[in-house]
């Protein structure tokens, strides 16, 4: 990917251009402005048959999406086979209360059965001695581009930004995901069991995100978190205005006009369809994929994830949301979230934030390491996100840095709070807080066994379970997922367990 004349630090392991598509934070490509949007395909059901619009109104159970053909790419994920497991003699950082020292956890049938000082050991359960190590919930990354900016990179795998129009609400990230991206198994090895994969930030409205499980699959459908709501990626500030400088928007005021124009159209579209859905009279309105997505946001069925760095811009995005009656679930990156943390708390808007990124562009100039701690202190939902396939593997370390920064700045943060930044709070931002994100009976058995306290730099995941199935075991190469791409291309050193 071109770097506009600026280039990369002299030595960096394995990454070449500064704007390395594998690991870059302002995910957009140099833009060739194309003329037209795509033509829209006819409506299809899950079975693939063409349907009449009358039949296509989805039942409420389909992810509560009420547009025609609500779930055209349904999840085919099923949990991997599992047997009951009990881990004993282990410290449980639960994200649901105080850490349980030297406790036990029992999982079966893909769910957490019990967590406590002692739990019943079911007959036939495999008992693992935790040896004083640590268990946490599976980590959740709210901001990933794995799959859409797949390794080994290059233009061929650069599928994260449909940078052909400032508003591309019609694109869905899942259609860019390469399930053989070797970054997926590495994320799993880092303890990440659920991730939101988003389009990049080139556009004002970049398209739909998708929530995936870190599991091997031939298809993206096989990775999709069943029942998870879609997200909508929006982006403030420098990226859209730079990408579209020649055709507009080329300014922040142009950005805001662009959002509002899109929502005005979407509101009209929503009214037309809602009316038709009620009356069923005459021909249905013409479908428009982009408007469908935006209308679903207005109906509250898709969660808005808004890339936005500066405090003043966040405040403006909040007003736009109020003008059109939608809610922002979370601001992403939010380098200045600490300046408006009280406003985020008041409006129940989360922050998906970096532990320590800043200064790489003007809107990131005021990055501080205490950002997350300050957002937490103000009572807003705080999350450590990655936006980076390398950082995603070490969300625990990122959280540890953010916790330490809070403590150093006189804003005490406990481990029991910091764990939520990478688990339960992230689950809330994805609308999955009832199913994942904490060690509580009834929740999905997404758990990580760590070699040491996960807030230590020396800790590594030893075993990772997804829905009760152990999908990673550091000591057993047979329990280490290798993508098709890696076969014959990527070596492992003899004698090292990865």
């Amino acid at each position: 990917m071109g770097a506009g004349g600026l280039s990369y630090p002299a030595f960096r392991n394995g990454s070449e251009p500064r704007r390395n598509p594998i690991a870059m934070k302002s995910h957009f490509a140099p833009v060739v402005v194309l003329a037209a949007l795509c033509a829209c395909a006819p409506a299809r059901t899950k079975q693939g048959a063409q349907v009449s619009p009358r039949d296509s109104v989805a039942p409420a159970m389909l992810g509560a999406v009420s547009t025609p053909n609500a779930d055209p790419f349904p999840s085919t994920y099923v949990p991997f086979p599992s047997a009951p497991v009990v881990i004993r003699n282990v410290n449980l950082i639960t994200a649901a209360g105080p850490t349980i020292r030297n406790g036990m956890i029992s999982i079966a049938d893909g769910k957490i059965v019990a967590v406590g000082a002692t739990v019943e050991v079911p007959a036939g359960a495999t008992v693992i001695d935790g040896n004083g190590k640590y268990v946490t919930p599976g980590l959740i990354d709210t901001h990933s581009h794995i799959g859409v900016y797949a390794a080994p990179g290059g233009q061929a795998l650069s599928d994260g930004n449909e940078a052909t129009n400032p508003v591309t609400a019609h694109v869905w990230a899942e259609h860019s995901v390469w399930p053989q991206d070797p970054q997926f198994p590495r994320d799993l090895q880092g303890g990440v069991t659920t991730m939101q994969v988003l389009p990049g930030s080139a556009n004002l409205i970049g398209g739909r995100s998708v929530v995936l499980k870190s599991v091997p699959s031939r298809t993206v459908q096989g990775m999709k978190f069943p029942g998870a709501k879609y997200g909508l990626k929006m982006a403030c500030g420098e990226n859209p205005k730079r990408v579209y400088a020649s055709r507009g928007p080329s300014t922040r005021m142009g950005n805001v006009a662009g959002y509002r124009a899109a929502w005005i159209q979407a509101e009209a579209y929503r009214r037309r369809w809602d009316k038709w859905n009620q009356d069923r009279k005459g021909d249905p309105p013409t479908r428009d994929l982009g408007q469908e997505t935006l209308a679903e946001v207005l109906r509250g069925n898709i969660l808005v994830h808004n890339h936005c760095y500066r405090a003043d811009e966040m405040a403006q995005m909040i007003d736009i949301a109020k003008e059109f009656g939608y809610r922002i679930r979370a601001f992403h990156h939010g380098v200045e979230a600490y300046k408006v943390a009280d406003i985020l708390a008041r409006d129940s808007i989360g922050g998906s934030l970096w532990a320590d990124w800043g200064s790489f562009k003007m809107e990131a100039l005021d990055g501080i390491k205490a950002n997350i701690a300050l957002v937490e202190k103000a009572g807003a939902n705080a999350v450590v996100h990655s936006d980076d396939a390398s950082g995603s593997q070490r969300l625990n370390q990122e959280a540890a840095k953010a916790m330490a920064a809070g403590n150093s700045a006189g804003i005490p943060v406990s481990e029991d709070v910091a764990i939520k930044w990478i688990t339960l709070n992230a689950a809330w931002q994805l609308g999955l807080e009832d199913r994942i994100g904490s060690l509580e009976a009834g929740k999905n058995a997404d758990i990580v066994l760590w070699s040491a306290n996960p807030f230590s730099v020396y800790a590594r995941p030893e075993k990772v379970w997804v829905d009760g199935a152990m999908l990673y075991d550091r000591t057993d190469p047979r329990q280490q997922w290798r993508t098709d791409f890696e076969l014959g291309y990527v070596r492992t050193p003899a004698g090292f367990n990865r």
Partner: protein, 435 residues
Amino acid sequence: MRHMTSKTIRGATAGVVLAIGAGSLPAQTIAITGARVYPVSSSPIENATVLIRDGKIVAVGAGITIPADARRIDASGKWVTPGLVNAATQLGLSEVGQVAETRDDVARGRDNIAASFTAWEGLNSYSALIAPARREGVTSVAVVPAGSHLISGQAAMINLVDGMPSDMVIRAPIAMIAQMRSMGGAGVGARGELLVRLRELIEDTRAFARNRAAFERAETRDYAARRLDLIAMIPVVEGRLPLVVAADRATDIDAALTLGRQNNIRIIIGGGAEAWMLADKIAAARVPVLTGSMNNIPANFGALNQIQENEALLRRAGVQVVTIGNGGSSDEETFNVRNIRQQAGNAVAYGLSWDDALRSVTLTPAEVFGVSERIGSLQAGRDANVVIWSGDPFEFSTVAERVFVGGREFTEMDRQELLTERYKQLPPKQSMPVR
């Protein structure tokens, strides 16, 4: 404020100090006592004293006589190490990654050669990113030209003291920077062609050096580089200045070793993603490797086999290993020069011994770049670059409680701390009311 609980001078004087733009205390005699001291050049010493006078370390050990006029700092229960060295940064050369006017890290060069580029001479010693690096225990950095030219320029080692670039430089140049990663950047179409261009440059430099008078009389053939670039390359071809070759693919590293051997050039491998695959050859060639332990993604076809055990495997083979870089991706590099300690901690998690990890961010980079008489260890005569840590320097919960560079303690709040203070309560604390 970084240490709300410890009574440092910072709290009392932060505002004043910032206003006058100083932020360091004058050099004096300082005795740091009672700590677990890691000299790095020798074994750790419990309950030891580090004695500093006039910016230099005077003595290190247990049972040292402390002069009456010394300022005593009780460091009981603390860990004391040499200041950390980050041996690959653009600190002071790149302030705001995407704002071109704040960047002086990439020379234009000619024909993809910028050997004469002395990057440190354009250093911004008022960079707001220096203090945060120092705050977390980094006291020296290599300032390295960026860019993907065949030859990007020359690097220098600097101390993070207050002053002008000329006050900061420990040694310049410390190395010439080349790369074998980007054929486009080197202006070639294939790896083999890149090597040809390097050989041509070496040969022409030799020819130029043999008969500069003829060149001045325009009696020589055309050379592969312009005059100043040829002059800059002379110490490289004479084996006096190392050539850092940024290379990742194992085969490229092998080619760099061959180039060095055939031409009697001192090679240092930078990046070295796949270096572990030929660790024994690298060790036999006595070639140091600058690399990290937080990259395991087959990020491009030239680095498919990068693994986090790289440093450990190289060290095991006997290679001099310098830990560089951070775990992130790109432009936050200068913002996070401080994350060198996270990188070292990860090296330990992936098999490097703790002692080797500390060495890899202190004495080894000093040795590799020829400045071990100045920095990298706590020994008499060395610059008093000393950090008092609350514990293991690689752990996130550990704080660099006191940082000395050249015997001066730095206490001023950095820009990030000032912002934190301002917004600790909302609406923010400012002299004018803010809503």
